[in-house]
């Protein structure tokens, strides 16, 4: 049984089903509230939700019970320093780290939180918060967001972040110091003479290949890029895609040469009437449209950066994406064919997939 955690503008929806079948809504939580992101920590099964209450502000909640049993607890410490000029706007992502009880959360305004007690208490990463370049980071239409966090398998000291719009950030010392990893990324929305030194790079999503951790893929504001040196430099691999704009990128954990993206038009940020997921299996040298079963006319979908996810790997790779139209599409065969998983949900902000057996999650999607 696959579990889908669907963060929507009107609450968390939990869907269960088998690949290839229509999924059933099995639970709801935070009814009516914007759920920006939800994930289950595979290590203990704890469920997390990032909720931006229009009244009480942004918060991380967690539960060890069923999602609809009312046992959600607010995590402590998810806040900026008191008395400053800024307030936390939103939590964009929550990711399990590479040490017992370690989790990370990224948010707006360009902040990283860390927890070492399974997500009950959190601490702001002060080195990133006080980074001397912060004044040059740019808030884009989605805010100033740490939206991608890529741990290095087996090494809790190494981490890559992506910030929109402040580029790629790397640490090798557990977040004590941070360096930029922007070489090769071209921001054509900036004047040509400033591009080489630009810091306000609008990375839309970043993922690390778990089987070859020095390799990362990113979807940029214009272009898809690959790094083979742990994020220090980047090569444009977008040739062959119909549009260079898009938000999410998903990898097959079994294949470090794989990546999936959903190109959308630069002008209006939606699919151009027909929907296709594009796949590479040669690290971006070539791309193939995976559109069988997806709408091919009158379909202008907006798929946000956290709304494309994978479960399992290799020949059993499952892929799922959700749109702001409230539709979810899935594939149980690594994108070879697609089908409608769910319709008529509220606007989808995030989607994570995991595997459930007899009520227990046993495997989760990468990241």
């Amino acid at each position: 049984m696959t579990e889908l955690l669907v963060g929507t503008r009107k609450g968390l929806f939990v869907l269960d089903g088998e690949p290839g079948s229509t999924f059933e809504i099995t639970a709801r939580a935070f009814v009516g509230e914007p759920v920006e992101y939800a994930m289950r920590d595979a290590r203990g099964g704890r469920l997390f939700a990032a909720v931006t209450s229009p009244f009480w502000g942004p918060r991380i909640w967690f539960t060890d019970g069923e999602p609809d049993d009312g046992d959600w607890q607010p995590a402590r410490g998810v806040a900026l320093p008191k008395g400053g000029d800024d307030a936390l706007e939103r939590i964009w992502v929550i990711v399990a780290g590479e040490a017992d009880g370690l989790l990370y959360a990224g948010g707006d305004p360009g902040v990283l939180f860390e927890s070492r007690d399974n997500g009950e208490t959190w601490h702001l990463n002060e080195a990133l918060w006080e980074h001397p370049t912060r004044a040059r980071w740019r808030r884009d239409s989605g805010g100033l967001s740490v939206h991608s966090i890529a741990p290095w398998p087996g090494d809790p000291d190494r981490l890559a972040l992506a910030i929109s719009a402040a580029g790629v950030w790397l640490t090798d010392d557990g977040g004590t110091t941070w360096s930029h990893g922007n070489e090769g990324i071209v921001a054509d929305y900036l004047p040509e003479q400033t591009r080489a030194t630009a810091i306000d790079l609008c990375v839309h999503h970043l993922e690390r290949a778990p089987g070859r951790p020095e390799r990362l893929f990113l979807q940029f504001h214009g272009g898809v890029y690959r790094s083979d040196d742990a994020g220090r430099s980047w090569t444009d691999i977008g040739a062959g895609l119909p549009h260079d704009f898009g938000f999410p990128v998903v990898l097959d954990p079994a294949d470090p040469d794989s990546a999936y993206v959903i190109p959308v038009t630069t002008a209006d940020r939606v699919t151009d009437g027909c929907v296709a997921v594009w796949e590479t299996r040669d690290a971006g040298a070539t791309w193939t449209a995976r559109e069988r079963g997806l709408p091919q006319r009158n379909a202008w979908l907006s798929v946000l950066r956290q709304s494309f996810t994978a479960a399992h790997s290799g020949s059993s790779l499952e892929l799922y994406f959700g749109a702001t139209s409230g539709e979810i599409f899935g594939s149980g065969n690594a994108g070879a064919s697609w089908y409608g998983v769910a319709t008529r949900l509220p606007a989808i902000a995030s989607l994570r997939a995991g595997r459930r057996s007899a009520g227990v999650t046993i495997t989760l999607a990468p990241r």
Binding site: P54, F55, W56, G57, P74, A79, L80, P81, K82, G83, G84, D85, D86, A87, L88
Partner: protein
């Protein structure tokens, strides 16, 4: 001390629907409320100390602003604003 009445999520976090809190202004009182009841920290005031945008404060049934003065006999209610759309 003034009486603060809480409902819903705030009542659950504070463990009580009615609390006695000191303060000369609404802002003072809200800061004291969050300091004395740590479960409420950050729920009413953001990190800047600013009243969250969609939270309404009433003093003796009348809408109040952060700089409104508070008397010891006052009753304060903290409620989510009307919203929709």
């Amino acid at each position: 001390m003034a009486i603060v009445r809480l409902r819903g999520q705030l009542e659950k976090l504070a463990g009580s629907s009615e609390l006695a809190v000191a303060g000369t202004t609404v802002a003072d009182l809200l800061q004291a409320l969050e300091q004395e009841h740590s479960g409420l920290e950050g729920w009413i005031l953001d990190e800047r100390g600013v009243l969250r945008r969609h939270v309404n404060v009433f003093v003796n049934g009348e809408p109040a602003k952060p700089d409104n003065l508070i008397a010891e006999t006052d009753t304060i209610e903290i409620l989510p604003a009307i919203s929709g759309g």
